[in-house]
Protein backbone atom coordinates (compact mmCIF):
# COMPACT_ATOMS: atom_id res chain seq x y z
CA UNK A 1 0.00 0.00 0.00
CA UNK A 2 1.43 3.36 -1.07
CA UNK A 3 1.16 6.25 1.35
CA UNK A 4 0.23 9.65 -0.05
CA UNK A 5 0.26 13.00 1.71
CA UNK A 6 -2.41 15.13 0.05
CA UNK A 7 -1.74 18.88 0.13
CA UNK A 8 -4.58 21.26 -0.65
CA UNK A 9 -8.34 21.43 -0.12
CA UNK A 10 -9.46 23.31 -3.23
CA UNK A 11 -11.49 21.72 -6.03
CA UNK A 12 -8.90 19.15 -7.06
CA UNK A 13 -7.75 18.39 -3.49
CA UNK A 14 -11.33 17.74 -2.43
CA UNK A 15 -12.00 15.46 -5.40
CA UNK A 16 -8.78 13.51 -4.77
CA UNK A 17 -9.64 13.12 -1.11
CA UNK A 18 -12.95 11.50 -2.09
CA UNK A 19 -11.17 9.24 -4.55
CA UNK A 20 -8.49 8.01 -2.17
CA UNK A 21 -10.04 8.14 1.30
CA UNK A 22 -10.97 4.45 1.01
CA UNK A 23 -8.89 3.05 -1.77
CA UNK A 24 -7.47 -0.50 -2.04
CA UNK A 25 -4.03 0.48 -3.38
CA UNK A 26 -3.22 3.96 -2.01
CA UNK A 27 -3.67 5.41 1.44
CA UNK A 28 -3.81 9.10 2.40
CA UNK A 29 -1.40 9.36 5.34
CA UNK A 30 -2.17 13.05 5.99
CA UNK A 31 -4.32 15.76 4.44
CA UNK A 32 -2.95 19.30 4.62
CA UNK A 33 -6.27 21.15 4.76
CA UNK A 34 -6.41 24.76 5.91
CA UNK A 35 -10.17 25.00 5.52
CA UNK A 36 -11.22 22.63 8.30
CA UNK A 37 -10.91 22.58 12.10
CA UNK A 38 -11.41 18.81 12.25
CA UNK A 39 -8.31 16.76 13.02
CA UNK A 40 -9.73 13.60 11.45
CA UNK A 41 -12.00 13.28 8.39
CA UNK A 42 -13.09 9.83 7.19
CA UNK A 43 -10.29 8.30 9.28
CA UNK A 44 -7.62 10.54 7.73
CA UNK A 45 -5.38 12.80 9.84
CA UNK A 46 -5.91 16.46 8.83
CA UNK A 47 -3.24 19.09 9.54
CA UNK A 48 -3.42 22.83 8.92
CA UNK A 49 0.14 23.42 7.71
CA UNK A 50 3.18 21.72 6.26
CA UNK A 51 5.33 21.80 9.44
CA UNK A 52 3.71 18.62 10.79
CA UNK A 53 4.03 16.70 7.54
CA UNK A 54 5.51 13.19 7.96
CA UNK A 55 7.42 11.27 5.31
CA UNK A 56 5.23 9.49 2.74
CA UNK A 57 5.85 7.62 -0.50
CA UNK A 58 4.41 10.54 -2.43
CA UNK A 59 3.20 14.11 -1.89
CA UNK A 60 0.39 15.37 -4.10
CA UNK A 61 0.47 19.15 -4.47
CA UNK A 62 -3.13 20.14 -5.27
CA UNK A 63 -2.24 23.81 -4.73
CA UNK A 64 -2.28 26.99 -6.84
CA UNK A 65 0.47 27.19 -9.49
CA UNK A 66 2.32 29.99 -7.74
CA UNK A 67 2.59 27.96 -4.48
CA UNK A 68 4.25 24.94 -6.11
CA UNK A 69 7.89 26.05 -5.58
CA UNK A 70 7.43 27.18 -1.96
CA UNK A 71 5.28 24.21 -0.89
CA UNK A 72 7.58 21.67 -2.51
CA UNK A 73 10.60 23.27 -0.81
CA UNK A 74 9.08 22.41 2.60
CA UNK A 75 8.53 18.69 1.92
CA UNK A 76 10.38 15.95 3.86
CA UNK A 77 13.70 15.02 2.20
CA UNK A 78 12.57 11.68 0.77
CA UNK A 79 9.61 10.62 -1.39
CA UNK A 80 8.10 11.68 -4.71
CA UNK A 81 6.68 15.21 -5.04
CA UNK A 82 3.91 15.41 -7.65
CA UNK A 83 2.34 18.62 -8.87
CA UNK A 84 -0.90 18.73 -10.85
CA UNK A 85 -0.50 21.89 -12.91
CA UNK A 86 -0.77 22.29 -16.67
CA UNK A 87 1.44 25.33 -17.01
CA UNK A 88 4.28 24.74 -14.51
CA UNK A 89 7.35 22.74 -15.58
CA UNK A 90 8.39 19.72 -13.53
CA UNK A 91 11.63 21.51 -12.63
CA UNK A 92 9.72 24.05 -10.51
CA UNK A 93 9.43 21.37 -7.83
CA UNK A 94 12.09 22.21 -5.21
CA UNK A 95 11.98 19.20 -2.88
CA UNK A 96 15.08 17.12 -2.18
CA UNK A 97 13.45 13.83 -3.11
CA UNK A 98 12.25 12.97 -6.61
CA UNK A 99 9.80 14.84 -8.86
CA UNK A 100 6.83 14.05 -11.08
CA UNK A 101 3.66 15.52 -12.54
CA UNK A 102 0.08 14.24 -12.80
CA UNK A 103 -2.02 16.74 -14.77
CA UNK A 104 -5.74 16.03 -15.10
CA UNK A 105 -7.08 17.84 -18.16
CA UNK A 106 -10.37 19.16 -16.92
CA UNK A 107 -11.84 22.30 -15.49
CA UNK A 108 -12.78 21.49 -11.91
CA UNK A 109 -15.66 23.04 -10.06
CA UNK A 110 -16.16 22.06 -6.43
CA UNK A 111 -19.92 21.80 -6.77
CA UNK A 112 -19.78 19.28 -9.56
CA UNK A 113 -19.48 15.56 -9.17
CA UNK A 114 -16.88 14.53 -11.68
CA UNK A 115 -15.81 10.98 -12.37
CA UNK A 116 -12.05 11.44 -12.04
CA UNK A 117 -11.32 8.06 -13.61
CA UNK A 118 -12.64 9.25 -17.00
CA UNK A 119 -10.60 12.44 -17.08
CA UNK A 120 -7.42 12.22 -19.21
CA UNK A 121 -4.34 12.24 -16.99
CA UNK A 122 -0.93 13.41 -18.24
CA UNK A 123 2.14 11.86 -16.62
CA UNK A 124 5.73 13.05 -16.38
CA UNK A 125 8.57 11.89 -14.18
CA UNK A 126 12.02 13.46 -13.68
CA UNK A 127 14.94 11.91 -15.54
CA UNK A 128 16.47 9.00 -13.69
CA UNK A 129 13.43 8.45 -11.43
CA UNK A 130 11.74 5.05 -11.72
CA UNK A 131 8.15 5.46 -12.89
CA UNK A 132 6.76 2.71 -10.61
CA UNK A 133 5.27 4.88 -7.84
CA UNK A 134 3.87 7.45 -10.27
CA UNK A 135 2.35 4.71 -12.40
CA UNK A 136 0.69 3.12 -9.39
CA UNK A 137 -0.84 6.43 -8.32
CA UNK A 138 -1.94 7.19 -11.89
CA UNK A 139 -3.60 3.76 -12.09
CA UNK A 140 -5.58 4.53 -8.95
CA UNK A 141 -6.74 7.81 -10.52
CA UNK A 142 -7.61 7.46 -14.22
CA UNK A 143 -7.68 4.84 -16.95
CA UNK A 144 -6.91 7.46 -19.63
CA UNK A 145 -3.17 8.05 -19.29
CA UNK A 146 -0.68 9.82 -21.54
CA UNK A 147 3.05 10.38 -21.00
CA UNK A 148 4.18 13.85 -22.11
CA UNK A 149 7.03 16.19 -21.19
CA UNK A 150 6.82 19.67 -19.59
CA UNK A 151 6.99 21.51 -22.88
CA UNK A 152 4.14 19.44 -24.37
CA UNK A 153 2.10 19.94 -21.21
CA UNK A 154 2.36 23.73 -21.53
CA UNK A 155 1.08 23.48 -25.09
CA UNK A 156 -1.71 21.17 -23.98
CA UNK A 157 -2.75 23.66 -21.33
CA UNK A 158 -2.79 26.35 -24.01
CA UNK A 159 -4.97 24.19 -26.28
CA UNK A 160 -7.32 23.70 -23.31
CA UNK A 161 -7.60 27.48 -22.86
CA UNK A 162 -8.88 27.73 -26.45
CA UNK A 163 -11.23 24.74 -26.14
CA UNK A 164 -12.60 25.66 -22.72
CA UNK A 165 -12.07 29.26 -21.48
CA UNK A 166 -12.27 30.96 -24.87
CA UNK A 167 -15.21 28.82 -25.97
CA UNK A 168 -16.99 29.79 -22.78
CA UNK A 169 -16.22 33.45 -23.54
CA UNK A 170 -17.93 33.06 -26.93
CA UNK A 171 -20.96 31.64 -25.11
CA UNK A 172 -20.85 34.80 -22.99
CA UNK A 173 -20.76 37.03 -26.07
CA UNK A 174 -23.67 35.11 -27.59
CA UNK A 175 -25.58 35.56 -24.32
CA UNK A 176 -24.86 39.31 -24.42
CA UNK A 177 -26.22 39.59 -27.97
CA UNK A 178 -29.35 37.77 -26.79
CA UNK A 179 -29.75 40.01 -23.77
CA UNK A 180 -29.41 43.20 -25.81
CA UNK A 181 -32.13 42.03 -28.19
CA UNK A 182 -34.67 40.45 -25.83
CA UNK A 183 -33.84 36.98 -27.11
CA UNK A 184 -33.87 33.80 -24.99
CA UNK A 185 -30.28 32.57 -24.52
CA UNK A 186 -31.65 29.16 -23.51
CA UNK A 187 -32.74 28.71 -27.13
CA UNK A 188 -29.03 28.53 -28.04
CA UNK A 189 -28.30 25.67 -25.65
CA UNK A 190 -29.25 22.81 -28.01
CA UNK A 191 -26.97 24.33 -30.67
CA UNK A 192 -24.11 24.63 -28.16
CA UNK A 193 -24.54 21.00 -27.19
CA UNK A 194 -24.67 19.85 -30.79
CA UNK A 195 -21.50 21.81 -31.61
CA UNK A 196 -19.63 20.01 -28.83
CA UNK A 197 -21.23 16.70 -29.79
CA UNK A 198 -20.30 16.89 -33.49
CA UNK A 199 -16.62 17.23 -32.66
CA UNK A 200 -16.68 13.85 -30.95
CA UNK A 201 -16.87 12.12 -34.37
CA UNK A 202 -16.05 14.82 -36.99
CA UNK A 203 -12.89 16.88 -37.36
CA UNK A 204 -13.38 20.63 -36.71
CA UNK A 205 -12.99 21.29 -40.45
CA UNK A 206 -15.67 18.72 -41.33
CA UNK A 207 -17.98 20.10 -38.65
CA UNK A 208 -17.74 23.75 -39.73
CA UNK A 209 -20.80 25.53 -41.17
CA UNK A 210 -22.00 29.14 -41.37
CA UNK A 211 -21.45 32.31 -43.42
CA UNK A 212 -17.61 32.33 -43.28
CA UNK A 213 -17.43 28.67 -44.29
CA UNK A 214 -19.77 29.42 -47.25
CA UNK A 215 -17.77 32.60 -48.00
CA UNK A 216 -21.06 34.52 -47.85
CA UNK A 217 -19.66 38.07 -47.92
CA UNK A 218 -23.09 39.67 -47.78
CA UNK A 219 -23.99 38.03 -44.46
CA UNK A 220 -20.45 38.57 -43.12
CA UNK A 221 -20.68 42.31 -43.75
CA UNK A 222 -24.23 42.56 -42.50
CA UNK A 223 -23.37 40.74 -39.26
CA UNK A 224 -20.35 42.95 -38.57
CA UNK A 225 -22.57 46.00 -38.92
CA UNK A 226 -24.92 44.56 -36.28
CA UNK A 227 -22.14 44.52 -33.65
CA UNK A 228 -21.83 47.83 -31.82
CA UNK A 229 -19.16 46.58 -29.38
CA UNK A 230 -15.68 47.17 -30.85
CA UNK A 231 -14.13 44.14 -29.16
CA UNK A 232 -16.91 41.83 -30.37
CA UNK A 233 -16.48 43.23 -33.88
CA UNK A 234 -12.73 42.51 -33.84
CA UNK A 235 -13.32 38.97 -32.64
CA UNK A 236 -15.96 38.51 -35.34
CA UNK A 237 -13.50 39.67 -38.01
CA UNK A 238 -10.56 37.60 -36.78
CA UNK A 239 -12.48 34.36 -36.36
CA UNK A 240 -14.33 34.78 -39.67
CA UNK A 241 -11.03 35.44 -41.41
CA UNK A 242 -9.53 32.35 -39.80
CA UNK A 243 -12.41 30.24 -41.15
CA UNK A 244 -12.08 31.84 -44.60
CA UNK A 245 -8.32 31.16 -44.66
CA UNK A 246 -8.92 27.55 -43.75
CA UNK A 247 -10.92 27.10 -46.95
CA UNK A 248 -7.81 28.08 -48.92
CA UNK A 249 -5.64 25.40 -47.38
Amino acid sequence: MLTIALIGSGNLGTQLFSLWKKHPSVQISQWVNRSTNQSIIAGVNCIPCLSNLKPADAYILAVPDRSIPSVSAQLPPSGLAIHCSGSIPLTDLENNGSQAVLYPLQSFSKSQNINLSEIPLFLEVAEGVKPTVLQQIADSWSYKQYWIDSSQRQQLHLAAVFANNFTNQLYYMASQICQRNALPFEALLPLIQETAQKIQYLTPIQAQTGPAKRNDQEVLEKQQSLLADANEKKIYQLLSQAILNQEDE
Copy 2:
Protein backbone atom coordinates in the same frame (compact mmCIF):
# COMPACT_ATOMS: atom_id res chain seq x y z
CA MET B 1 -55.41 18.89 -43.47
CA LEU B 2 -53.02 21.64 -44.59
CA THR B 3 -51.24 21.19 -47.92
CA ILE B 4 -47.57 22.19 -48.09
CA ALA B 5 -45.36 22.46 -51.14
CA LEU B 6 -41.81 21.73 -49.98
CA ILE B 7 -39.10 23.45 -52.00
CA GLY B 8 -35.50 22.25 -51.66
CA SER B 9 -33.69 18.98 -51.08
CA GLY B 10 -30.68 20.11 -49.06
CA ASN B 11 -30.17 19.27 -45.40
CA LEU B 12 -33.24 21.06 -44.09
CA GLY B 13 -35.48 20.08 -47.02
CA THR B 14 -34.58 16.42 -46.55
CA GLN B 15 -35.25 16.56 -42.81
CA LEU B 16 -38.61 18.27 -43.35
CA PHE B 17 -39.60 15.70 -45.96
CA SER B 18 -39.01 12.93 -43.42
CA LEU B 19 -41.00 14.84 -40.81
CA TRP B 20 -44.04 15.53 -42.99
CA LYS B 21 -44.19 12.63 -45.49
CA LYS B 22 -46.67 10.83 -43.23
CA HIS B 23 -48.03 13.41 -40.86
CA PRO B 24 -51.55 13.55 -39.38
CA SER B 25 -52.03 17.32 -39.74
CA VAL B 26 -49.98 18.45 -42.75
CA GLN B 27 -49.58 16.93 -46.19
CA ILE B 28 -46.77 17.55 -48.68
CA SER B 29 -48.59 18.21 -51.96
CA GLN B 30 -45.38 18.48 -54.02
CA TRP B 31 -41.64 18.31 -53.36
CA VAL B 32 -39.46 20.48 -55.58
CA ASN B 33 -36.37 18.28 -55.61
CA ARG B 34 -33.67 18.78 -58.23
CA SER B 35 -31.53 15.95 -56.90
CA THR B 36 -33.77 13.00 -57.80
CA ASN B 37 -35.09 11.45 -61.02
CA GLN B 38 -37.98 9.76 -59.23
CA SER B 39 -41.40 11.27 -59.81
CA ILE B 40 -42.85 9.84 -56.60
CA ILE B 41 -41.09 9.33 -53.24
CA ALA B 42 -43.04 7.90 -50.30
CA GLY B 43 -46.28 8.71 -52.11
CA VAL B 44 -45.28 12.37 -52.66
CA ASN B 45 -45.14 13.92 -56.13
CA CYS B 46 -41.60 15.14 -56.88
CA ILE B 47 -40.95 17.85 -59.48
CA PRO B 48 -37.60 19.17 -60.69
CA CYS B 49 -38.52 22.87 -61.01
CA LEU B 50 -40.98 25.51 -59.91
CA SER B 51 -42.89 25.79 -63.19
CA ASN B 52 -45.12 22.82 -62.36
CA LEU B 53 -45.89 23.99 -58.84
CA LYS B 54 -49.61 23.89 -57.96
CA PRO B 55 -51.34 26.08 -55.41
CA ALA B 56 -50.97 24.94 -51.79
CA ASP B 57 -51.86 26.37 -48.39
CA ALA B 58 -48.18 27.05 -47.75
CA TYR B 59 -44.83 26.93 -49.54
CA ILE B 60 -41.76 26.07 -47.47
CA LEU B 61 -38.59 27.53 -48.97
CA ALA B 62 -35.80 25.27 -47.73
CA VAL B 63 -33.37 26.91 -50.16
CA PRO B 64 -30.10 28.91 -49.90
CA ASP B 65 -30.52 32.47 -48.61
CA ARG B 66 -29.64 34.08 -51.93
CA SER B 67 -32.39 32.12 -53.75
CA ILE B 68 -35.21 33.27 -51.46
CA PRO B 69 -36.24 36.37 -53.50
CA SER B 70 -36.14 34.64 -56.91
CA VAL B 71 -37.83 31.41 -55.75
CA SER B 72 -40.59 33.26 -53.88
CA ALA B 73 -41.26 35.45 -56.95
CA GLN B 74 -42.21 32.30 -58.90
CA LEU B 75 -44.80 30.99 -56.42
CA PRO B 76 -48.52 30.71 -57.26
CA PRO B 77 -50.43 33.92 -56.42
CA SER B 78 -52.20 32.58 -53.31
CA GLY B 79 -50.98 30.83 -50.17
CA LEU B 80 -48.40 31.51 -47.47
CA ALA B 81 -44.70 31.64 -48.46
CA ILE B 82 -42.42 30.65 -45.57
CA HIS B 83 -38.65 30.97 -45.62
CA CYS B 84 -36.38 29.28 -43.06
CA SER B 85 -33.37 31.58 -42.96
CA GLY B 86 -31.81 33.27 -39.97
CA SER B 87 -30.30 36.23 -41.76
CA ILE B 88 -32.92 37.18 -44.38
CA PRO B 89 -35.76 39.57 -43.45
CA LEU B 90 -39.35 38.50 -44.04
CA THR B 91 -39.72 41.30 -46.57
CA ASP B 92 -37.32 39.55 -48.97
CA LEU B 93 -40.17 37.20 -49.86
CA GLU B 94 -41.56 38.40 -53.21
CA ASN B 95 -44.67 36.26 -53.70
CA ASN B 96 -48.10 37.80 -54.20
CA GLY B 97 -49.73 35.82 -51.37
CA SER B 98 -48.79 36.22 -47.72
CA GLN B 99 -45.39 35.88 -46.01
CA ALA B 100 -43.96 34.24 -42.92
CA VAL B 101 -40.75 32.79 -41.48
CA LEU B 102 -39.98 29.57 -39.61
CA TYR B 103 -36.32 29.58 -38.54
CA PRO B 104 -34.99 26.46 -36.85
CA LEU B 105 -31.96 27.38 -34.76
CA GLN B 106 -29.62 24.51 -35.46
CA SER B 107 -26.73 23.65 -37.68
CA PHE B 108 -27.99 20.93 -40.01
CA SER B 109 -25.83 18.19 -41.44
CA LYS B 110 -27.45 15.74 -43.85
CA SER B 111 -25.70 12.73 -42.35
CA GLN B 112 -27.05 13.37 -38.88
CA ASN B 113 -30.37 12.24 -37.52
CA ILE B 114 -31.76 15.22 -35.70
CA ASN B 115 -34.99 15.27 -33.77
CA LEU B 116 -36.56 18.35 -35.37
CA SER B 117 -39.22 18.60 -32.67
CA GLU B 118 -36.61 19.50 -30.04
CA ILE B 119 -34.96 22.25 -32.08
CA PRO B 120 -36.08 25.78 -31.15
CA LEU B 121 -38.23 27.28 -33.90
CA PHE B 122 -38.58 31.04 -34.39
CA LEU B 123 -41.82 32.30 -35.91
CA GLU B 124 -42.67 35.51 -37.73
CA VAL B 125 -45.67 36.43 -39.85
CA ALA B 126 -46.21 39.53 -42.02
CA GLU B 127 -48.38 42.32 -40.60
CA GLY B 128 -52.07 41.75 -41.21
CA VAL B 129 -51.68 38.02 -41.92
CA LYS B 130 -53.56 35.68 -39.58
CA PRO B 131 -51.11 33.42 -37.76
CA THR B 132 -53.36 30.31 -37.95
CA VAL B 133 -51.67 28.48 -40.84
CA LEU B 134 -48.16 29.31 -39.62
CA GLN B 135 -49.04 28.18 -36.11
CA GLN B 136 -50.42 24.88 -37.38
CA ILE B 137 -47.26 24.20 -39.38
CA ALA B 138 -45.04 25.23 -36.46
CA ASP B 139 -47.00 22.85 -34.18
CA SER B 140 -46.31 19.98 -36.58
CA TRP B 141 -42.60 20.83 -36.50
CA SER B 142 -41.35 21.76 -32.99
CA TYR B 143 -42.67 22.12 -29.47
CA LYS B 144 -40.11 24.87 -28.69
CA GLN B 145 -41.55 27.97 -30.33
CA TYR B 146 -40.66 31.65 -30.03
CA TRP B 147 -42.21 34.64 -31.83
CA ILE B 148 -39.57 37.21 -32.89
CA ASP B 149 -39.32 39.86 -35.60
CA SER B 150 -36.83 40.04 -38.51
CA SER B 151 -34.42 42.33 -36.69
CA GLN B 152 -34.30 40.02 -33.66
CA ARG B 153 -33.83 37.02 -35.91
CA GLN B 154 -30.74 38.61 -37.50
CA GLN B 155 -29.28 39.15 -34.05
CA LEU B 156 -30.13 35.59 -33.07
CA HIS B 157 -28.35 34.30 -36.15
CA LEU B 158 -25.34 36.39 -35.18
CA ALA B 159 -25.38 34.98 -31.64
CA ALA B 160 -25.51 31.50 -33.17
CA VAL B 161 -22.40 32.26 -35.25
CA PHE B 162 -20.52 32.98 -32.00
CA ALA B 163 -21.91 29.95 -30.17
CA ASN B 164 -21.48 27.52 -33.05
CA ASN B 165 -19.16 28.51 -35.93
CA PHE B 166 -16.67 30.49 -33.85
CA THR B 167 -16.66 27.92 -31.06
CA ASN B 168 -15.92 25.26 -33.65
CA GLN B 169 -13.09 27.42 -34.97
CA LEU B 170 -11.57 27.49 -31.47
CA TYR B 171 -11.79 23.69 -31.42
CA TYR B 172 -9.86 23.80 -34.70
CA MET B 173 -7.17 26.04 -33.22
CA ALA B 174 -6.88 23.73 -30.21
CA SER B 175 -6.52 20.78 -32.58
CA GLN B 176 -3.77 22.61 -34.47
CA ILE B 177 -1.84 23.26 -31.25
CA CYS B 178 -2.14 19.55 -30.44
CA GLN B 179 -0.99 18.51 -33.90
CA ARG B 180 2.05 20.78 -33.81
CA ASN B 181 3.12 19.29 -30.48
CA ALA B 182 2.38 15.59 -30.97
CA LEU B 183 -0.51 15.75 -28.49
CA PRO B 184 -3.71 13.70 -28.75
CA PHE B 185 -6.62 16.04 -29.62
CA GLU B 186 -9.04 13.35 -28.46
CA ALA B 187 -7.84 14.01 -24.90
CA LEU B 188 -9.53 17.44 -25.16
CA LEU B 189 -12.94 15.98 -26.02
CA PRO B 190 -14.14 15.39 -22.43
CA LEU B 191 -13.21 19.01 -21.61
CA ILE B 192 -15.10 20.27 -24.67
CA GLN B 193 -18.16 18.30 -23.65
CA GLU B 194 -17.99 19.52 -20.06
CA THR B 195 -17.68 23.13 -21.23
CA ALA B 196 -20.90 22.79 -23.25
CA GLN B 197 -22.55 20.86 -20.42
CA LYS B 198 -21.75 23.43 -17.71
CA ILE B 199 -23.53 26.17 -19.61
CA GLN B 200 -26.78 24.22 -19.44
CA TYR B 201 -27.11 25.14 -15.74
CA LEU B 202 -24.53 27.90 -15.05
CA THR B 203 -24.26 31.35 -16.64
CA PRO B 204 -21.13 31.84 -18.80
CA ILE B 205 -19.68 34.13 -16.13
CA GLN B 206 -20.24 31.52 -13.40
CA ALA B 207 -18.75 28.80 -15.59
CA GLN B 208 -15.57 30.69 -16.48
CA THR B 209 -12.18 29.43 -15.22
CA GLY B 210 -8.56 29.69 -16.42
CA PRO B 211 -5.62 32.13 -16.37
CA ALA B 212 -7.52 35.22 -17.61
CA LYS B 213 -10.33 34.67 -15.11
CA ARG B 214 -7.71 34.37 -12.34
CA ASN B 215 -5.86 37.40 -13.78
CA ASP B 216 -2.71 35.24 -13.82
CA GLN B 217 -0.46 37.57 -15.84
CA GLU B 218 2.49 35.20 -15.70
CA VAL B 219 0.61 32.38 -17.44
CA LEU B 220 -1.07 34.82 -19.86
CA GLU B 221 2.31 36.14 -21.02
CA LYS B 222 3.89 32.71 -21.15
CA GLN B 223 1.03 31.30 -23.24
CA GLN B 224 1.16 34.16 -25.73
CA SER B 225 4.85 33.48 -26.23
CA LEU B 226 4.04 29.85 -27.06
CA LEU B 227 1.89 30.88 -30.04
CA ALA B 228 3.91 31.34 -33.22
CA ASP B 229 0.87 31.96 -35.43
CA ALA B 230 0.07 35.71 -35.53
CA ASN B 231 -3.68 35.21 -35.95
CA GLU B 232 -3.85 32.76 -33.04
CA LYS B 233 -1.89 35.22 -30.90
CA LYS B 234 -4.34 38.06 -31.70
CA ILE B 235 -7.31 35.86 -30.86
CA TYR B 236 -5.60 34.81 -27.63
CA GLN B 237 -5.06 38.47 -26.67
CA LEU B 238 -8.57 39.63 -27.57
CA LEU B 239 -10.42 36.82 -25.84
CA SER B 240 -8.19 37.00 -22.74
CA GLN B 241 -8.75 40.74 -22.57
CA ALA B 242 -12.50 40.22 -22.89
CA ILE B 243 -12.41 37.81 -19.93
CA LEU B 244 -10.25 40.23 -17.91
CA ASN B 245 -12.63 43.14 -18.66
CA GLN B 246 -15.57 41.06 -17.55
CA GLU B 247 -14.04 40.79 -14.09
CA ASP B 248 -14.21 44.56 -13.79
CA GLU B 249 -17.94 44.72 -14.44
